[in-house]
Amino acid sequence: MADVTTPFEAEVTEVVHREWGRVVATLIRRTGDWDLAEDSAQEAFVLAVERWRRDGIPASPGGWLTATALNRAIDRLRRAAMGRQKLRDLAAMMPGPDTPDPDESGIVDDRLRLIFTCCHPALAPDARVALTLRSLAGLTTSEIARAFLVTDATMAKRLVRAKAKIAHTGIPYRVPPAHLLAERTTGVLAVIYLLFNEGYEASTGADLVRAGLCDEATRLGRTLTELMPDEPEVLGLLALLLFHDSRRAGRVDASGDLVPLDEQDRTRWNAAAISEAVTVLDRALWLGRPGPYQTQAAIAACHATAADAAATDWAQIAGLYGELGRMTGSPVVELNRAVAVAMADGPQAGLRLVDGLADSGALRDYRLLAATQADLLRRLGRRDEAAEAYRRAIDLAGNERERRFLTRRLSEVAAPARP
């Protein structure tokens, strides 16, 4: 988004961010043309800056923007209209009573149609993410390209291809019917979580633009809870993102190194985000339909609400990982359970679970398996074995920050002098 220099511009930037998805979503429904929708929305926002500077921001900026964008779209089509077909399209879009909602679900917010279409499983996963950021969040193609470390041309091509596939293959612009809704909602949540993790991990190098993806993901998560307020997993995901995000300031030190959870300065955690997350999670759990995001959020809540590292309820966390493991069948979850068990019952108990996982071969070459083994061996005073595991973990490390952290640990356990 544009650089903020004055209060007026700051407010307009906020309006753009809030309203972009709604305007584009409605324009796509009315015109059936994604590019036309984006271009017209863009024009409407440019016009808005001029007009609002003079007249002030209207009471319903979203309505003003949608009406203006629709007029722009009609102008563009009128200029381009040559055949009867185009004129018929035009007649169909003319402002008038809204077309009846064809969705069985009865939900009419166009943003929901948009996000389900952007996240359609027939699109490639990277295209789903890019399209969601472009159409719903309003990021420019260059911003998305920078966030995903590809060239503008590559990202532009990815977006063009995705939109072409939607148009050519008849991917419907709608909220999926009841028999598909649960599965497709899971798909939407996965896209938002992936987006968040891209920003959170920044696994291929630290970068502020990428960190902005966390904000976009949280914003999308919040929008989705407004649109689907009774879906516990939607609420669970938002709570999870808020818990993770609340630790952002505390998880790296001044030199950019990762700080382990137990060493983080908890006063740097965002208390407002934690309290919002707790409220959201409570509401999700109250709905009484558990799921993996709610369980992960409950685990994050155990950390976020502990007064200090020593006060963490590791037995409860181990239990929650056990539940999560039963829901997902994931060996990574089992590894996390082992860490929690080590905290609750001692490193020996944890190591037994980790060694079991290592023997099963399920997580071969997974960097955190080696790192966890190394940490538990270190705590048991088995320095030589710990050093060996640290070296293995360093070889597998995903980024520089992680490598530096592991190397520091290695130097603590490795024999001081080597021939």
Partner: protein, 115 residues
């Protein structure tokens, strides 16, 4: 919209089916075709002979060139198709998933390009 649903599977594997399994498979196709015809979405569909019976034709510099076999060697081959006329990609996917061949091979869903 119209979609061509291409049924792709390893034809060597299909060839090893015994009489009983082969008959069962054919019966399942019969049930599928009947259901789809009843729904009014079926616009065509046939089974194809294996690629051993394929002849590939191309014309280069005005000359017709023939080769024995399919145009490309692949692990899975097209063994048949259905042409369906349905609401959207979601319905096409739902129909494709009901084709008995989807459980052993895969179905490629290709929208028809209207000319």
């Amino acid at each position: 919209m119209k979609y061509l649903l291409l049924i792709c599977s390893d034809e060597d594997q299909v060839a090893t089916l015994n009489q009983e399994d082969g008959d069962a498979m054919l019966a399942e196709y019969g049930v599928f075709a009947e259901e789809m015809a009843g729904r009014g979405v079926l616009a065509g569909g046939e089974r194809l002979r294996p690629t051993a019976d394929a002849t590939t034709v191309k014309v280069r510099s005005g000359e017709v060139l023939l080769s024995d076999g399919p145009f490309a060697e692949t692990k899975e081959q097209i063994g048949g198709y259905f042409l369906v006329d349905c609401a959207d990609l979601d319905e096409a996917i739902e129909i494709a998933a009901k084709i008995p061949g989807a459980r052993v091979g895969s179905i490629e869903v290709r929208p028809i390009w209207p000319m």
